[in-house]
């Protein structure tokens, strides 16, 4: 399942903190027209690359980007250092 929220949290050396809940589903809604616009160009690139044997690779790479995006749910990075803390999580 695609992540719907991105949680960002940070604390700097002075103790100032910020927390951000980024609604990714809104970003997807913005990205959707972009995907639709780029699709014909990707198909054209695949057609051009097909005689050289790279056509299917272009299409597979395009689809793989969405697969990776779909697998991001649960990805978490938590760093605590002397300079501050940083936390990122895809929910």
């Amino acid at each position: 399942m695609m992540p719907m929220l991105l949680r960002l949290k940070g604390i700097n050396r002075e103790g100032k903190r910020f927390t951000l809940w980024l609604p990714l589903f809104l970003i997807y809604m913005i990205l959707l027209p972009l995907i639709i616009i780029t699709l014909p160009f990707v198909l054209l690139a695949a057609l051009i690359a097909w005689p050289f044997g790279y056509g299917s690779l272009v299409l597979q790479a395009y689809l793989a980007i969405f697969k990776i995006l779909g697998c991001l749910s649960g990805f978490k990075i938590d760093i605590e250092s002397g300079d501050g803390n940083f936390f990122i999580k895809f929910v």
Binding site: Q60, A64, I68, C71, G74, F75, D78, E80, G82
Partner: protein, 136 residues
């Protein structure tokens, strides 16, 4: 046939218990066996990398990373899309870094096997920093 089941059937044949009681006892045993079979090893979903300061470390940095195994699979599949003509360049770059590996020999099914075997991976490094890599 288990020992308990045999005992219940013996008791039934000796008419020490009724058929209904025997049925209840047998279903209780079946339920217990079912619970026992339910304790199958859970399939891990994440690869965890934890770096913590060791006892002698002056560096207080801590890192905790959780990567979904699905993401690793997807990433490896993307790496498998590298055209054959570029694989020799990848091999050369790896060779320069001191990694002797033939990238062209890695097939998608091998990558799947690698991820599957990650389930049992546990790396513990104790030094200035304590590093733990495991699946959960």
């Amino acid at each position: 046939m288990s020992e308990e089941r045999k005992k219940i059937l013996d008791m039934l044949s000796e008419k020490k218990i009724t058929a209904e009681e025997a049925e209840k006892l047998l279903s209780a045993i079946a339920k217990e066996e079912g619970n026992g079979a339910g304790t199958v090893k859970k399939e891990p979903k994440y690869l965890r990398v934890m770096v913590e300061p060791g006892p002698d470390s002056k560096n207080p940095d801590r890192v905790n990373i959780r990567v979904p195994l699905k993401l690793i699979r997807a990433g490896l599949k993307l790496a498998a899309l590298i055209p054959k003509s570029a694989q020799s360049q990848v091999n050369d770059a790896l060779h320069e870094k001191g990694i002797e590996m033939d990238f062209s020999q890695i097939k998608p099914e091998d990558l799947e096997n690698i991820v599957t075997q990650l389930d049992d991976l546990t790396v513990d490094v104790e030094g200035k920093e304590s590093v733990r890599i495991f699946c959960e």
